[in-house]
Symmetry: C2
Subunit: 417 residues, 2 copies
């Protein structure tokens, strides 16, 4: 694909955006419902394309976890369809009057929710993101301009074709979903330069993608970033509860961004707690400071480096540190946290309040697992990502995050004196 | 100033941010009130520094309008102090619970308004922006990290010192306002690279600054951009009203972003309207299409180029175009508008609704001047800029635009099944 092709796709996305934006919610509802039916109808074709992607990935010798993320089965296709139906059934957001007032000169001002326009998503292997992201975009009246991974290309092409056919049938522009079919590394760079075309880019990917976006992106973006999440076990914690929370936060699904990466323990309870939790983290590789190592034994705990505290392991590895008080815990999180989710386990009201007030993250959790920070667990339904930025959207991003507003001002000839 | 110096200033800004964020609103109120007093107390010193800046600017032979923007007088200093007092009297936003709910598993979720952290502003000659921006930042619990123009440096230094002294007196960190004292061109580039320090950058300036930000900025930003604003006179317009609106929108203050740059006129009323408005735009240079020129006479109207329709004149020049219908008007605005403010003059309800629905801009105005799009006219009090972006904030940005939110999640040991 040449830059011209991409610019051409961008032009089509922009042209479709104003039509999608003004399509009534009923039409968009029907588009989502028909897309669900089309995915089910095309199920065998999708699974066959997916087999091709998986075979190529295995030939290329990619990691087993990557193959896992690529793989669809009948249940997962049904899940994609169910997701689109849930979106069709969810309330429409467009046109909502967010607020409104009248000025002393009689000017009437309303702030009304409108679509962003063209929403671009760069994502990795999971092909279900194609349907999920396109559905969320349509719910919010946007065009979805998608760039998946090369490994999932065959699958993505079939999914996109099915959904585009559904859109056409209900009278929506099929360009309400545009899939970039050349997912080469170079395309990403060109994509980031589509200033004036892309209204919002959501990069979902690892540190190298995020670094590239920060370095080269010329369009507005919201980062779905890393989660270097901490669990701090306070002096006053219910230690049984703390065990359950850190085990869940670390091991329930270690590969995701809201899994915990570092355990911080108050010195006064460190010996008791670490001896309690150690056996429960049997399959987890621990990397700790000297105090942790002396409590659990050097043979059980590797020595933690600064890099260990800074990184997102995304596997069954956990950094551990004993802290002298809540101040040190908050300072550690301030230094190493990525602004995703931070949790405290405590029975003390003042500690809970301080932690909630002083820790700067999208979600600050008291006495629960970090794993709850996602759109479904928060009750938003689908999500297009979890923002670790502070601008526009923070935390799990549902359909509302894919909207903006405009001011409608009505007068009777007012001019400014 | 070396990059290290700037990184050092950034570190100080970040260190102050958490203290400012947790300062009670009463302390921030007092900080704003004391800053107002300090500006009044330092009035002669400010004016004397300002004389120095003006003398240097004149020596350097800058334009008279630039000198105008630089110049302070006792009234303007009093205005800066009054602005800070108005902010002190305005309601605090921090801690507001934006929404909250309980999940089926008992998790309590609240979304609470919090400061952004370090807000950076790059701005041009007007030294009153130093006080206005710092005040708005403090109202919203942020550190103001300011980089004014070199032409206003002496004045800005005195204003910043006065406000910092006031902050110190009430127990706020004086680093709640940090002024970069080397406003060289190179500093801007380094400023844009302070990833991890600046939570939000607001560039206020001309197209070259905006282009540089889009090209090189690695920190989140909201653009205070150009206003290529249109007034469309519909077939059904009250032509007297239309005259008053375009005259006001073009001439009341032509150098600002919400002034009109292009007049679009429906063909059916073009002859009548242009002959009516022509004499009222006596001091305005008109650049029109062939129809406009044939109605008003080639000697009165220069020939408009595509560039004329694309640019923000910011002076007493107006592009004019006769359109065949509202569709052509909306399409012209879609092509040339900058997403700031677009106005229609019409008596027809359907035209008003279509224009409001289909024009994509921060403010869409029916039967009033474009000049109303600003924070004060909208009733927000002070503003830190007018966003022409769609993400985070759109249109006039008051203190609320300088905040974000975080989710506070409270449980009793919940883990994810």
């Amino acid at each position: 694909m040449t830059v011209c092709d991409l610019v051409d796709l961008g032009g089509r996305a922009k042209a479709a955006a104003s039509i999608v934006a003004s399509a009534p919610s009923g039409t968009r509802d029907r588009g989502l419902e028909r897309a669900a039916e089309e995915l089910e109808r095309a199920r065998d074709e999708i699974l066959s394309a997916n087999q091709g992607d998986i075979a190529s990935a295995k030939e290329a010798g990619v990691a087993e976890t990557t193959v896992d993320r690529l793989a669809l089965n009948p249940g997962r296709v049904a899940g994609m369809a169910a997701g689109l139906r849930a979106l069709a059934a969810s309330p429409d957001l467009l046109g909502e009057v967010l607020d409104g007032w009248v000025r002393p000169n009689g000017l009437q001002i309303r702030r009304v929710r409108v679509p962003l326009g063209v929403v671009a998503v760069i994502y990795e292997n999971r092909p279900n993101v194609t349907a999920d992201a396109a559905g969320l975009c349509l719910r919010a009246g946007n065009v979805a301009f998608l760039r998946g991974s090369s490994a999932a290309l065959r699958t993505n092409v079939v999914i996109a074709a099915a959904m585009r056919a559904a859109y056409r049938e209900v009278g929506l522009p099929e360009d309400a979903l545009i899939l970039v079919e050349d997912p080469s590394r170079e395309t990403v760079r060109d994509f980031l330069a589509l200033d004036g075309v892309i209204d919002c880019l959501i990069p979902r990917g690892g540190p190298s993608l995020i670094a590239e976006v920060k370095q080269h992106c010329r369009v507005p973006y919201v980062i779905d970033g890393d989660g270097n999440c901490h669990v701090y076990v306070d002096e006053s914690a219910d230690l049984e509860m703390a065990c359950a929370i850190i085990v869940n936060a670390k091991t329930q699904r270690p590969s995701v961004c809201n899994a915990a990466e570092t355990l911080l323990v108050h010195r006064r309870v460190a010996a008791e707690f670490l001896k309690l939790v150690g056996p429960l983290l049997g399959g987890v590789e621990l990397r700790g400071d000297e105090e942790t190592r002396s409590i659990l034994g050097d043979s059980k705990v590797a020595s933690a480096t600064v890099e260990d505290y800074a990184r997102e392991f995304l596997d069954l590895t956990l950094a551990v540190k004993v802290v002298s008080d809540i101040d040190e815990a908050i300072a550690h999180i301030g230094r190493f946290g990525s602004g995703h989710t931070e949790a405290i386990v405590t029975s003390d009201l003042a500690s809970a309040r301080r932690f909630q007030s002083e820790v700067d993250a999208a979600a600050v959790v008291v006495n629960a697992s970090t794993r709850f920070t996602d759109g479904e667990q928060f009750g938003f339904g689908a999500e297009i990502g979890i923002s670790t930025q502070k601008l526009h959207a923070r935390g799990p991003m549902g359909a509302a995050s894919l909207t903006t507003y405009k001011y409608l001002v009505e007068g009777s000839g007012q001019v400014r004196p």
